[in-house]
Symmetry: C2
Subunit: 172 residues, 2 copies
Amino acid sequence: MKYFEDIAVGDRMDIGSHLFGADEIKLFAAQFDPQPFHMDEAAAAQSHFGALCASGWHTASMWMRLRILYGQREDAERTARGEPNATLGPSPGFRELKWLKPVYAGDTISYASEVADKRLSQSRPRWGLIQVHNTGTNQNGELVLSFKSSAFVERRSEAASPTATDSVRRAD
Amino acid sequence: MKYFEDIAVGDRMDIGSHLFGADEIKLFAAQFDPQPFHMDEAAAAQSHFGALCASGWHTASMWMRLRILYGQREDAERTARGEPNATLGPSPGFRELKWLKPVYAGDTISYASEVADKRLSQSRPRWGLIQVHNTGTNQNGELVLSFKSSAFVERRSEAASPTATDSVRRAD
């Protein structure tokens, strides 16, 4: 992870894409969202979706996978350059999750995360808090998933010392 | 599903509970949230969580599973009594999802959903919109998961006719 000081509002990460196959859609649904239109092509054809489509929790969980793998690749590249990696803290949750269009079997979803806000944490001086807008877009350029997340990100130790000054506003 | 007219603000559904085992925690994490504290006991012991714990997406997806199975049981019981079932429409999404405490291997989470608001849909006269507050609570009574959802629910056909009157306020 980049340090808090190295993250700017507007930074965009293209974290990866995934082709949702029929088999994995059905497998996820059987475990976590056993509705006919996620489990069976014929039943889905009769539903308001019109064809087999992925559980919204599946498309959101795939964002998590790609976000973690993206971070691991970035960390490995920084390590290879001899640069330190910041720690990403726990996520307090997310907001305004919207499933805007169905994700059908065979769709490829490209996920991106854009930094919408950053602020220092008053309760945790070694950490900053970033707000991120996360999206999933299908192969036709249609937005299918949108949600906002927050995350604590480690500050550079020198920046977190009491003598450091910066212009980022303080919160919580 | 109950018809919109038969749902009251304050109605609570205890939709079921689930014991999160270490193996399933690791299996979900390997697919969707490959972070050390979700995949390996020793790494988790060294992390800020202190022990193996489930991905937040896993605990949220399990809510979905139990909610669907609860609805299927309720529908089957209504059918057995000779009563009709309303259709549950698509979910526009979720709001304010909070992972309030870790869910550790061996924890049993009990999920509940409580109706927080209901209103008629102006754009879709055959449907009402309900707002639901969903929670997960561990075996110690601690809230671990909280989020708010919306869902379109079918109205009784006679209630949705233009001559019907009721006191529910209209929205959208």
